[in-house]
Each structure stands twice: as structure tokens, then as C-alpha cells.
Amino acid sequence: MNRGVLRINNLDWGFNGRNIFNSVNISIPEGSFTGIIGPNGAGKTTLLKLILKLLPPDRNSIFLNNRDITGFTRKDIARKMSYVSQTPGVDFGFTVEQMVAMGRNPHLRSFSSETSEDRAIVTDALRDTQIEYLSSKDISKISGGELQRVIIARALAQKPAILALDEPTNHLDLNHQMKILSLIRELSAEKGITVIAVLHDFNHALEYCDNLILMNGGAVVASGLPEDVITPDNMDTVYHLEIVMEKNPFTGKPYMVVRS
């Protein structure tokens, strides 16, 4: 197995005197689609924020391409990793194209302007997320599914090696949830981008992810192939739920059914 484009090594981390993570170890293989699942308060969003240095990790705990991320500047990080957060704001009145073009910021120096190459990358990002037709629309006047594509397009314009998403399907209807996840999987496969996504729906996790990490109370309970992580034992331990694994008749992938 690959040494991992992103490694988390004995991560201990706390906030305001409260301990959140105790010796967490994670290795994310390059080009994979890795899902993070776990109950509320498990530390999933906090973990993403530490990886992106939105919260300050300790030295020698998180490594990107075997380099300690505490040595990276904000721009270094933003050139390698992009972030689709849980609550994208919507009321700013920027156009879709302006919003996506902001993804080029980490590659531009202050006082310099965008080159034709930057513009081409923005056009590609709009095309890859199928929102070219929206480019001059006001972002406060588009639907939730369209907005999520705009945020993903902005993240792609950063030309990241790693794309981190926090519940990318939040607030979307089922049809748009599937479309967004399919889009992310395609982008990952086509461009070799490593995807790390916090997900809530186990069947989506089983369907779309190459690897899963199950977290609970700031610790990794299980990690590996989706069907090895979402097991009746693990679901009982973490969620106190009784489940049965079935086979999705459409895709042949494992499918989870919960006893109500």
C-alpha cells in the first residue's frame, strides 16, 4: 500500500483545555476517495480543519507528501488542498465566474493580475462541473445544488492535489446528492485528485468511497474498505444500531439496512 499523500501521525489535539483527539493515525492513499463517517461530535469537521490548517495542529502530527504541514504558509496549503465547507454563504452578489476565479488566488501574487492561463483554468473548472451556463449569474440567485457546484468549481480552480469536503450533500435533495457525489468521484478518477469527504449517509459512503474512516469520540474506530468499516459490529458499537448488509440490486455494491 501507498505511504499516503496525507498522513496523520499520533495526532493529539485539544481546544480550550478540552482534549479532542488522542493519538489518531490515518493514512490517505493518493488518488483515493476517502470518506470520514461518525456520529455528531466525533471530531470529523475538526479533523478536516486541522488538515487544512484552519485550526493549528502541533508539529510532527500531519504530513502532506511527507512534509510537516506546520511549515507550510497559507498559500502553500491553498495551492495543494482546497476546501468545500459545510456552510457556503450565498448572499454576496458575486457572479458565479467571479466566485470560481477566487480559486486562483493562492497562485497569484498580490498586485499581479490574472493571466490567460488562470482564465483558462477557471473556464475548465466551470465546464468540469457543468455550470458554464451559469457563469454570469448572481450566486445569491441560484439553487442549492448549483451553488454546491460553484463551490466545487472554485475548489478545482485551485488545482489541488487534495480536495476536502465537509458534508458536500448537506441541504440537497436526493437527486442532487447523487449527482454531486458522482461528479466528485468522476473528477477524482479523471484528474487523480485525492478526495477526503465527511459524509453522513452510509449508503452513499458504501457506494462512492474507496476507503472509509469511522470516527467516534475523537478516535478512529475503524478504517479500510467500506464494507470492512460499515459492519454490524461497528454500527452497534458506535451508533447502537442494528443493521443488516444487503446488496444494492442496481450496482452490486454493499447496501446497509437499519432496523427501526
Binding site: L54, K75, A78, Y83, G89, M102, S110
Partner: protein, 336 residues
Amino acid sequence: MEPVRHLKIVFALLILFLAAAVFLSAAMGSASIPFSDVMRMFTSPDKSFPSAFRIIIFQIRLPRIILSVIVGMGLAVSGAVFQGIFQNPMANPYVLGVSSGAAFGVAVGMAMGFEVSFLGLGAISIAAFTGGILTALFVYFISGNGRSVFSLLLSGIAMGFFLSALMSLIMYLNRNQIENIVYWSMGSFNTASWDKIAVAGPVIILGSLFLMAFYRDLNILVLGDDTARSLGVSVRSRRLLFLLVSTVITASAVSVSGVIGFVGLIIPHILRILTGPDHKTLIPLSMLSGGLFLLLADTLSRTILSPTELPVGIVTSLFGAPFFIYLLRNHRKVLP
């Protein structure tokens, strides 16, 4: 309302209006000078005009016109930047206590009868600038070094109330200075001079152009701290830089004109609605519109009750406040 997309036309129109307003304003006033003479005085170096006309135009009206344009530019630009940084349409250039600090400085200066001058500026300008900057710095530090914009906003408001109380106390104890202090705090250009332009002009114009050069960071800051960081912006250091530059701009404006309200609130607000939130255009458009608005307001303030004149702050508030209420009722969501 859909933002206007033909921005080049908007820029051209504003420049045209501003130029026209400068000429018109130069021709208006208690001494009536024919408009054609004003045009000829500007275009030819011919000395054949009566020297009184030349003095009125070049030593009295023109400095006043230029200073009002520059102050309008500064207030509108710092308003635009504050609104973006605070993600709040109610934020204005005085939000860090610059106006109350400056007014307090002036009250102290007048009560104690300061008589110093520096770079051609009088004691009052110096007291206003110092009071404004010191208050803004103090507000920044008591709010935990700008850790959250919300605490900055509240600290600024609290500080404003405190300094207003102290200012009232000073006025109460120095009743002979009440009129001067009150008049100053209503804002006026009747002491405009080329010296004031030479000091405040470069600070305001260079400061505005500096902020404009950072338009990308300003746009990204509007999206919130985490998003801005994930797009490579060092949020706290950038925010401090922009707060500092816009506060210096505001304090320079206040020091040469007194406290003039609503320009910094209303101009960027209208522009956001009409032409969108992109700081690349918002800042230069704020400069032009703020300059034009304050020039028109000042021209009105010195002509409407001629030969006496109104403090310009009264005019801007009289026109600004109702228009602002109209805007709020019709376009609620301009900023989050």
C-alpha cells in the same frame, strides 16, 4: 435589481458628472461670477480677469471644491472596505471610534486652547487626527486584537459612547467653546486650504489606490474567515492591514473637515446594489461617487442659505438618512 454590467459607461458618466460639478460649483456662491468667466479662467492663463475673481476662484472656492471631493473619496472608500471586512452593511468609516475620538481630541484641543501647527495644519486638525487614530488603536486592542469582527464592532460602539460622554463633560465645563466644538463636529469645509489638500490629499488617494490593489483579498474576506484562509488569505494580518489603512484615510478626512456622516455608509451601499460587490470596481467607483456626492452636498450647504452657510454634515444626513431607509426597505440583502 440586476447589477449594471456596463461598468465602463458608469465610470465615464461619473467622471463627466464630477468634472461638470467642479465647474458649476466654482461658479456658484455669494459673489456671482459668470460661468463663462470661470471656464475661461480655468482654460487660459490670461491675467485679464479682476484679481478679486481670481482670488475667490483659486484661493477660496477651488481648494474647498477639491478638498470636499478628496474627503468624499476617502470616506466612501473606507466605508466600502469596512463594510466588506465586517460583512455588515451598517459598518461605516467611524466604526472603530475614529469620529468620536477625533471629536474628543478637538474638544480637548479647543478647551485647552492648543496653538500648534504642523505641515501647515492647525492645532484642531492635529488634535482630530491624533484623537481618531489613538481611539481606533485602543478599540482594536481592547477587542482582543481583532479576533472577531463582532467584538470590534461592539468595542467601537462602547468607546464611542464613552468618548461622547467625556466630550459633553468638556463642553459643560467650557461653555465658551460649546459653539466651536459643536460646529466642528457637524463637519464643514469653510476652512479649506491648499495646505490641507497637500496633507490629506496624498494620504487619502494613495491609501485608496493601495486598498484597490488588494481587491482580490478584500473580495475573499467577504466570504468568511475559514473560506478566506482556505483560499490562501492570511485573514488576521490582512484584516489588520486594511483596517489600519482605512482608519488612517478616515482620520485624515475627519481632521480636515470634521465629522461628516452618511457618505461612507450610503455611497458604497448604493454601489453594491447597482454595480455589484467586486472591490476591483467598488473602490474606484466609491472614490468617484463619494467625491461627487460630497462636492454637491457642500455646494448646497454654502449656497442654499447664502450668505450664511450650513454645516455640510447636516446636508449629507438630511439627504442620506431617508435615502438609506428607502434602500434598506427595498434591498434587504446586500451583504450577509
